[in-house]
């Protein structure tokens, strides 16, 4: 019995290793195609990786680049936005996303953020949600360790341990806050990107209803609600409406 479990464990480990190797191989192959400017080939391979159920910031970034190169700005923005979730701090990504947005027709005027909000955003975007969450758990671990030690050494009055625990708890809170913020922003609400040249925004989830306005390829919006094949969207400036799901991609 023990033997079988052991074998299964080894087998599954091997399989995961094989998949990882396979994905790495595909990624390298795709990068080669990109280098040789076979952007469509590269896109095919990058998307194969996605179909395998694997993702990474680099993958999304490279895929966005490939779409940018074949002038599909909507898709480029979509994948840059996806990359942004995984590597918010990447400077190359920030540059390319900005460049792609120059090619987007819609220029939504958003009031400039105040200094405090900017700092807050910058802080939250120091790391991705995964890094923040691991940081949080590490600080919690430290606090727990200090607690554990203090219990064992209760006899000795160790004041510095208490201070240490306090620091660990504060740090856990500091890293827990961006984790929750990002969870709220990235995992509970989703964003969308227009993929068609021009998309009509309707007053109701019905193409016979009143057309409110148009948005163009590459415009990013927040998805508020989903009704069948329709997204209820909100633009950065607060305008709302319904668009057909087929014309958009979900970040």
């Amino acid at each position: 019995m023990k033997n079988i479990i052991k074998r299964i464990a080894i087998l599954s480990l091997l399989i995961t290793l094989a998949i990882a190797q396979d994905v790495d191989f595909l990624f390298e192959k795709a990068n080669e195609h990109y280098q040789q400017e076979n952007f469509r080939e590269a896109i095919k391979l990058y998307e194969d990786i996605l179909r395998n159920g694997q993702e990474s910031g680099k993958l999304y970034y490279n895929l966005g680049n490939a779409y940018y190169k074949i002038d599909e700005i909507g898709k480029a923005v979509l994948y840059y936005e996806k990359a942004l979730v995984l590597m918010p701090e990447d400077e190359n990504l920030a540059f390319n996303l900005k460049l792609a947005n120059v090619k987007v027709q819609d220029r939504i005027q958003v009031p400039e953020d105040s200094f405090i909000i900017k700092v807050h955003q910058k802080f939250i975007n120091l790391f991705s949600i995964y890094v923040w969450s691991v940081l949080f758990s590490v600080f919690v671990l430290m606090a727990a360790l200090v607690f554990f030690i203090s219990v064992w050494l209760a006899k000795y009055d160790l004041k510095f341990l208490r201070n240490f625990a306090l620091i660990a708890i504060v740090m856990a809170m500091v890293s827990g806050y961006p984790t929750l913020q990002k969870h709220q922003k990235e995992e509970l609400t989703s964003k969308g990107v227009v993929l068609e040249t021009v998309v009509d925004v309707f007053a109701a989830p019905d193409s016979e209803s009143t057309r409110l306005f148009n948005i163009h390829e590459g415009t990013v919006f927040t998805i508020l609600d989903i009704d069948g094949s329709w997204f209820k969207i909100e633009l950065l400036d607060g305008k709302q409406g319904w668009v057909s799901r087929d014309d958009c991609g979900e970040v």
Partner: protein
């Protein structure tokens, strides 16, 4: 009074001057046709415009004609907006005498000391189409008709095509003329001609056929067009149009009435021409078949297109607005008119940029069926430009074959420019680029990222991350263990029995350690109390009054190993002994005693 007179005077002057102006006249001589046959009777009309005072004109002079009738006079006089117009016309009917040219000389008239003249007219006269002997165009008349020939009454139908040789698809009009010299009271088409290889379209019905006089071999006949059809050949070669059959109700000539009634001559008045006393008969009249040569069209440069055959084509187009908001609909119309079959027309689609949405056109094709089939087609496109700026709708070329000119013709519609503007009411996000963005335009994106990649499963939340889960489990365990320990310590602290028990060994060892440091002489006492204290602490017994016997009893009850019980008993007995007889301690090694006590403590701590 004076004033009134003056006004009247002025009015009179005014009237006289206007009348005076009207005195300038024109003379115009016309004929109804310049190309006739010997059968026809020519109408010659002289029209004088400007006056109706010329009461007499000279009879027409010339060659090769006889005046059979006239002059018929008609005059016209009217005031329009204070202007007088007067007109008078004289009409003569002339019969040609021979093939060749019929010439009517010009003439001049004197009117109010001025001379006005009319031009000479030449009319071409062709040989007779009909003769009384053989009917060249209607040779297949039936027997009854032939029989009628001998008498005065005669009736036949002539089918006259507008052309005998046409192109494939070109329109031919066939006119059916009823020619008769008897009274017809009624007629009806029994059967339209069969036309294999043609597409036949009947033209508008002739409700009141106008009859005109013609002459066949000196005899007067009447000719009336009773039907017109339009034919469009659909195949080339020599095609035959079958005869048309008509039934006519005719009044039989009087010569056949065997009556000697004196009233005959009275009833033979034209007033009673169609009276109940007339005998009528129904006659079946059959036209002769027609053959028409159909030539194929010359090859067109693009064999995939088959341009329609049309004449007098006009192409036009319009748009309903030249300024429009983006995403709003605009109507673009193209019209094609011309003689021919409009159903064969396929107007090309305008070539518009990709950002313009074009709906399939609403096409309306109408064939007007008057003297000739004249078709008109309307193509109505609804287009929606999705981009602001100037939208140019390029001209559209329409090609057709003109049989008159014997070549393909191309007409071009107008080019339209439409200003497409942004709708200010709609959200307009395209506000142009900032300076920084313009600078960015000519930059390229940064290169792809390579190297080691940390792969993740798609669509997992942060709390599904392995390291996150692992670290948190460790933290949880640590806290849990610490908490358990802490609660344990707390329970010990709150229960004196347990505290005494847990601290017994420590207390005993501490006392033992202290005793060893002290000077000798007291050690048996201390060792005794250390061991007794430890046992009483562990077993929760009162320390005072404990004898070695008691201890042995209690330990035995706790089922402690008998050797240990015995050793403890002996040790305690000895200590008691040394305690009360200190002299015996002289030969005792205190160090050995202490070690024995330590040994016992260790052994006992394991079992109680």
């Amino acid at each position: 009074m004076n004033k009134k007179l003056r006004i009247q005077f002025l009015l009179a002057v005014f009237l006289m001057t206007t009348l005076g102006f009207a005195d300038d006249i024109t003379i115009n001589a016309t004929v109804n046709s310049t190309n006739i046959t010997l059968n026809d009777i020519l109408s010659y009309t002289v029209e004088i415009d400007g006056t109706n005072k010329i009461k007499h004109l000279p009879e027409p002079q010339g060659s090769n004609f006889l005046i059979v009738n006239g002059p018929f006079q008609s005059s016209n006089f009217q005031f329009i907006n204070g202007k007088m117009s007067a007109k008078i016309s004289y009409t003569w009917q002339l019969q040609p005498q021979a093939e060749g040219e019929l010439i009517i000389n010009g003439f001049s008239v004197q009117y109010e000391k001025k001379k006005y003249s009319a031009d000479r007219i030449v009319v071409k006269v062709e040989k007779a189409r009909y003769s009384s002997g053989s009917q060249n165009n209607s040779g297949k008349q039936n027997q009854s008709d032939q029989a009628e020939n001998s008498t005065e009454g005669r009736i036949f139908i002539d089918a006259i095509p507008s052309k005998k040789s046409v192109y494939l698809g070109e329109q031919v009009i066939v006119e059916y003329k009823l020619i008769y010299n008897m009274q017809i009271t009624n007629y009806g088409t029994e059967k339209l001609p069969e036309a294999k290889g043609f597409w036949v379209e009947e033209l508008d019905e002739i409700k009141n056929p106008q009859s005109s006089k013609i002459v066949i071999d000196g005899n007067e006949y009447y000719a009336a067009t009773i039907k017109r059809i339009a034919l469009f050949p659909t195949q080339s070669g020599t095609l035959t149009l079958d005869p048309m059959i008509t039934q006519c109700e005719v009044v039989l000539p009087k010569a056949r009435r065997r009556s000697s009634s004196p009233f005959d001559s009275f009833f033979d008045d034209s007033f009673f021409g169609n009276s109940v006393f007339d005998r009528t008969a129904v006659k079946r009249v059959v036209s002769s078949p027609l053959s028409i040569d159909v030539k194929p069209l010359p090859a067109y440069q693009d064999p995939s297109v088959l341009p329609p055959v049309m004449e007098n084509v006009q192409v036009s187009g319009n748009i309903d607005t030249t300024e429009i908001l983006r995403d709003k609909a605009l109507t673009l119309k193209y019209y094609v008119t011309g003689y021919g079959n409009i159903n064969a027309v396929d107007f090309p689609k305008p070539e518009l940029p990709d950002y313009v949405e074009v709906f399939p056109p609403k096409v309306n094709k109408v064939n007007e069926k008057k003297m000739k089939i004249k078709g008109s087609a309307t193509y109505e496109y609804v287009i929606i430009p999705h981009q602001a700026g100037t939208l140019t709708i390029p001209p559209v070329d329409f090609t057709y074959y003109d049989p008159q000119k014997n070549k393909y013709q191309t007409l071009r519609s107008k080019k339209f420019d439409v200003m497409v503007k942004e709708d200010k009411n709609l959200v307009s996000y395209s506000t142009g680029l900032s300076k920084e963005e313009v600078r960015m335009l000519d930059q390229d994106i940064r290169y792809i990222l390579k190297g080691r990649v940390q792969w993740r499963r798609i669509d997992t939340h942060f709390y599904q991350n392995n390291s996150f889960i692992l670290i948190n489990i460790i933290s949880f365990l640590l806290v849990a263990v610490a908490l358990v320990v802490k609660t344990h310590q707390k329970t010990i602290g709150s229960n004196p029995v347990l505290t005494r028990k847990s601290k017994a060994l420590k207390k005993a060892q501490e006392r033992l350690g202290k005793a060893m440091e002290q000077e000798s002489g007291h050690s048996p006492e201390i060792l005794d109390s250390v061991l007794k204290g430890f046992i009483s602490d562990r077993l929760n017994l009162p320390e005072a009054g404990l004898s070695p016997l008691n201890i042995r009893e209690v330990l035995s009850r706790k089922k402690v190993d008998e050797n240990l019980v015995h050793d403890t008993f002996i040790f305690l007995e000895n200590m008691e002994l040394y305690k009360y007889s200190p002299g015996a301690t002289g030969n005792l090694n205190e160090q050995v005693l202490a070690d024995t006590c330590k040994n016992l403590l260790a052994r006992l701590s394991k079992v109680i």
